[in-house]
């Protein structure tokens, strides 16, 4: 941009290509493995160009499951992951939108107390409260249910903050005009606030969908039945201790399938993804 330095430009391209290769190589190897036979994957060195069993392998993992690994077919697990990711992302957005609206547009006793209660959840990731939370969920008979899988992850201080900040920038004139026209708070919420928040919702959705899809510790505890496993958990269960009897071709096909939905969401909604990432971390 400023001066002409072909050497530096070449260096930069080389570094970036190296970075792209580092990022892509593991995925390429995974993909190649997913197109081979199980026997071929036990011979060293492993192949670097795709084999001919792509359809076979993907059909097997999607609809039959991996033999001896005692997991449901991957299509079932992907459905579980999808339900979990959608419930978490939509649930978080919905309840945060409501509570942020209440906190910004009303003044009522205990308002700040509620705000701080929500704030505290920021400091309580699942990892630090696993046992008591597990106990609550099992006391409520929610083990192996979608509710148990998602509810304990749904409260979100980050999303509430984001919406609160955004509502503060909505001009007061809009509220005044709405009140003059006789619109009540719910009408104002539905006709003005929700449409204005669409971009923020989309950005949050991308981040939260990935967050939900990629959950690990919580589904590991709460799902005990094969047909409730999420994809990420299922793949881990396909690899028993040691590497004696692993069908790597099928495990890698399942891994490709597990990566596909969140990767698609990132690539297709890239603008929102970048926005969401930068905004939620402010």
């Amino acid at each position: 941009m400023i001066e002409h330095r072909p050497g530096l430009r070449i260096f930069c391209h080389a570094m970036l290509l190296l970075g792209v290769a580092t990022v892509a190589l593991p995925i390429w190897i995974t993909f190649v493995a997913s197109t081979e036979t199980a026997e071929r994957m036990l011979q060293v060195p492993i192949p670097l160009v795709p084999g001919s069993h792509l359809l076979d392998n993907y059909y097997t993992v999607l609809f039959k499951g991996v033999e001896g690994a005692s997991t449901a077919p991957v299509s079932r697990m992907m459905l579980n992951s999808l339900v979990m990711a959608l419930a978490i992302s939509i649930g978080k957005i919905a309840i945060s939108l409501l509570s942020a609206f209440a906190i910004v547009y009303f003044r009522f006793p205990l308002r700040m107390f509620f705000f701080w209660l929500i704030f505290i959840t920021l400091m309580l990731p699942v990892e630090v409260r696993i046992f008591p939370t597990y106990k609550v969920v099992s006391d409520l008979n929610m083990i192996d249910t979608y509710a148990g899988l998602t509810l304990p992850l749904i409260a979100s201080a980050t999303a509430t903050f984001l919406f609160r900040q955004f509502f503060m920038t909505v001009p007061d004139e809009l509220t005044e005009a709405a009140r003059m026209d006789g619109a009540g708070p719910l009408r104002f919420f539905w006709d003005v606030v929700v449409p204005l928040s669409r971009t923020n919702m989309a950005a949050l959705f991308v981040i939260l969908f990935i967050y939900g899809w990629n959950q690990y510790l919580w589904p590991l505890l709460v799902t005990t039945q094969e047909n409730m496993y999420t994809t990420v958990i299922g793949i881990k269960r396909m690899i028993p201790g040691g590497d004696a009897s692993v069908d790597w071709n099928l495990v890698m096909a399942a891994a490709m399938l597990a990566m596909l939905p969140p990767a698609l969401v990132v690539l297709l909604m890239q603008e929102w993804f970048v926005k969401g990432l930068v905004e939620t971390e402010k």
Binding site: V23, I95, Y105, R111, L117, I120, Y216, D243, M259, V265
Partner: protein
């Protein structure tokens, strides 16, 4: 917190109904379990929960006298420094290159950011496959080209390397986006002025870009530490299981292992409380930084 809305709706039952869903979930699944963890950390109970005894801070005293726990602290510290340092350094170089090449930057961005979408546990499975002692590609290359034996199931340092690579790999794309955004926000006139004064690209980077990026850098440092502490459970559980000889037993993995597999609830609760204290400290650090940034602009 200072700013408030001028125009409001009259209060009544409605605001309570609006916060109710979030509040209910917060109380049932966050506040209540967390207070339970605090309470349990002061108790000793047997595996069946029949005998419960209040012991004050005994669990904590035992915890910090436990050589294995201190070792797990050391492992976690080393792990987060390696993950944070590695991911930050790599992403800084990539972002600087991307920022320098105005053309093509967007394409590189697209190609570099998607590992963020990959679950840490899946990243671990994939990397463990590449480094698999018997069939892994990297293992093969290391052995045939360099004569280096790789077996992370036996060698503690290699196991640590594996979980660092798997964890940092995903975090590079995250850091990259923030560094790139930070660099693109630096006024071009500053850099052009320095160029006219004869400063080359390296000098400009060191004297202008880096200092201006320091808030971003500090922010990412905290985020990366939080990530290494709390979001890497899946990496360890899906690849090394804390082994060999506890070389990769990070704190979060130990809480899970001691509580669920060894049945030591009081000790595990005490560990949870220590982790909570770490999250609180990191959150406070992060928020203080934000306040500073707002003040000095």
């Amino acid at each position: 917190m200072a700013a408030e809305k001028r125009v409001r709706f009259p209060p009544g039952w409605l605001p309570y109904a609006l916060v109710a869903p979030q509040l209910a979930i917060t109380l049932v699944f966050f506040i209540w379990p967390a207070s339970q963890a605090l309470w349990q950390s002061l108790l000793v109970q047997d595996a069946f929960g029949v005998n419960v005894q209040f012991v004050g801070l005994l669990n904590f005293r035992e915890l910090f006298a436990d050589r294995l726990y201190l070792e797990s602290f050391r492992v976690t510290a080393l792990f987060s420094v390696l993950v944070g340092g590695g991911a930050l350094a790599m992403s800084l170089v990539l972002a600087a290159c991307c920022d320098y090449l105005v053309r093509g930057a967007k394409a590189y961005q697209t190609l570099l950011i998607w590992p963020y979408a990959v679950a840490p546990a899946i990243a671990a499975v994939v990397w463990a496959f590449i480094f698999n002692p018997s069939i892994g590609l990297v293992t093969y290359v290391l052995q045939t080209w360099f004569g280096y034996e790789w077996n992370h199931m036996l060698n503690p340092a290699q196991a640590m390397t594996l979980i660092v690579v798997a964890s940092a790999w995903r975090q590079v794309s995250y850091n990259f986006l923030f560094f790139l955004a930070g660099m693109q926000a630096i006024p071009k006139s500053l850099l052009e002025g320095a160029a006219m004064d004869g400063a080359g690209p390296i000098k400009r980077f060191a004297t202008i870009t880096l200092p201006l990026l320091s808030p971003t850098m500090f922010f990412l440092l905290v985020v990366n530490i939080v990530y290494a502490f709390f979001d890497t459970f899946g990496v360890v559980d899906a690849s090394t299981h804390g082994g060999p000889v506890r070389a990769t037993e990070i704190l979060v993995y130990k809480v899970y292992h001691d509580g669920f597999e060894a049945g030591d609830l009081g000790g595990s609760a005490a560990q949870s409380v220590v982790l909570m204290a770490i999250v609180v400290a990191l959150t406070v650090l992060q928020f203080r930084y934000i306040e500073r940034r707002v003040q000095y602009g």
